[in-house]
Subunit: 154 residues, 4 copies
Amino acid sequence: MTTPSITASDWLNIDRPPAPEDFRGKVLAVEVFQMLCPGCVMHGLPQAQRLRQTFHADDLAVIGLHSVFEHHDGNSRESLAAFLHEWRIPFPVAIDAPGDGAMPRTMTDWGVQGTPTLVLIDRKGETRAMHLGQVADMALGAQVVELIREERPE
Amino acid sequence: MTTPSITASDWLNIDRPPAPEDFRGKVLAVEVFQMLCPGCVMHGLPQAQRLRQTFHADDLAVIGLHSVFEHHDGNSRESLAAFLHEWRIPFPVAIDAPGDGAMPRTMTDWGVQGTPTLVLIDRKGETRAMHLGQVADMALGAQVVELIREERPE
Amino acid sequence: MTTPSITASDWLNIDRPPAPEDFRGKVLAVEVFQMLCPGCVMHGLPQAQRLRQTFHADDLAVIGLHSVFEHHDGNSRESLAAFLHEWRIPFPVAIDAPGDGAMPRTMTDWGVQGTPTLVLIDRKGETRAMHLGQVADMALGAQVVELIREERPE
Amino acid sequence: MTTPSITASDWLNIDRPPAPEDFRGKVLAVEVFQMLCPGCVMHGLPQAQRLRQTFHADDLAVIGLHSVFEHHDGNSRESLAAFLHEWRIPFPVAIDAPGDGAMPRTMTDWGVQGTPTLVLIDRKGETRAMHLGQVADMALGAQVVELIREERPE
């Protein structure tokens, strides 16, 4: 099943919202995080950064999705921009759009259960893995290669 | 020379601003930090917490001082309250009052050069050490005992 | 070029020396180490153990090769057996046979430059990588999958 | 009670066995270890080295005591010398003399229960702490200062 689109209220670390073409035919790793979540800061985001450094940008795109479901008042756009700057997070980050309740829209659409979650989407746009919590680097590197070696869509 | 008082615009993790009596005659460790400073999150605040767990509260009081000199917009009281909750920081935290420029007032009064800085104040209220950056646990534990063993003022 | 055989004076953690059939058609990871080499103890051997836990034994075989080129007197078979027991190294370990000089035979035959070195041998028996020192888990996991996905020989 | 003397069959990292005068009036930290004990390698010995770097040699002497009670065959003098060299252990190390059973003599005399154990002996020669397993750097630094500040014997 094709992964629903990201519904973002804004993007950081990129001049304009990415177009679908930017990811077309690539494997896409999406780090779903909250800037005030310790596991995201200690594990999820550094691992996403290692993914970006290990694989070629033509094969794997890495982005963040800031999906706040707690402490909404403490997570302004300005806070997030400063956080990304201070922690040296270089990849594009989408701010998940508000949902009907506490959960933001994309998080709900994707069925993400908490943060950090690393979502792997294949070259055809289908979700192939959702790792909630910690996943080991070795197993993740292996899984990403499996997806990279799949056929690119026409 | 006696350490100037903390000029706080607010306090968190405590019902009312601490009175001078709360620290009188104790050694006081003040972790000067910013919630968006990686070195504070990774090293300074966990070490302050270890100080609190290692020494008796009658001998050593541990507090935080949130002294923001960058990204003022990203550091609201709500952000800080959520941060302290998520990172399980249990000790009282003063929000340093705005100063004349970018630097907050207590940070300027004390001559703190950056974050994290651990300030050690002796039983008589004099500043005895300002550790900017990382200081080793073993040396810090030794230094705190030296201060604890000094005579309590009358 | 086909990797020369392991010339072992003895094996530990296995009842009999492995036969060529034991590795036939599999990818083989050989951790070349010395028990008195800190980098081997801290990085090389734990990583070899993670390789063993991450991949299926039908795809990847993991063994150690104890290739002593320093402190020969301090590296008896008894020392090594005790070391493997205490550090919980469960995979088979070959004791590299003495060579003409200080370097043991297999280490010379393979052209290994130091320890730790992780040697990756493909399904056809050819050496495909020799990682001297540290290699990141993510990149290694990716590389092993590439070799696993290659065709098994007839 | 005065700590019994160290009964050593040999010493490494020092030209001659230390005389009692070498430690007289100092606090003495003795790291009781086995070279094949992972907790000793990972925690005990690095901490002993930090003790040596943190305190002044006039106040605190740091030595090792190699007390083998398992795998006697794998722990020759040559193995230990190579181990100390490779792991960069610079302080004097006594080889505990054989005892009547599996336990070496000094270990039995002192009542040490396992390795690693850090034994702290005060300026008067009395045992004041035996830390079996891990002890936190901060608490240890504090405890050593307490002993250093005690009166030197006449």
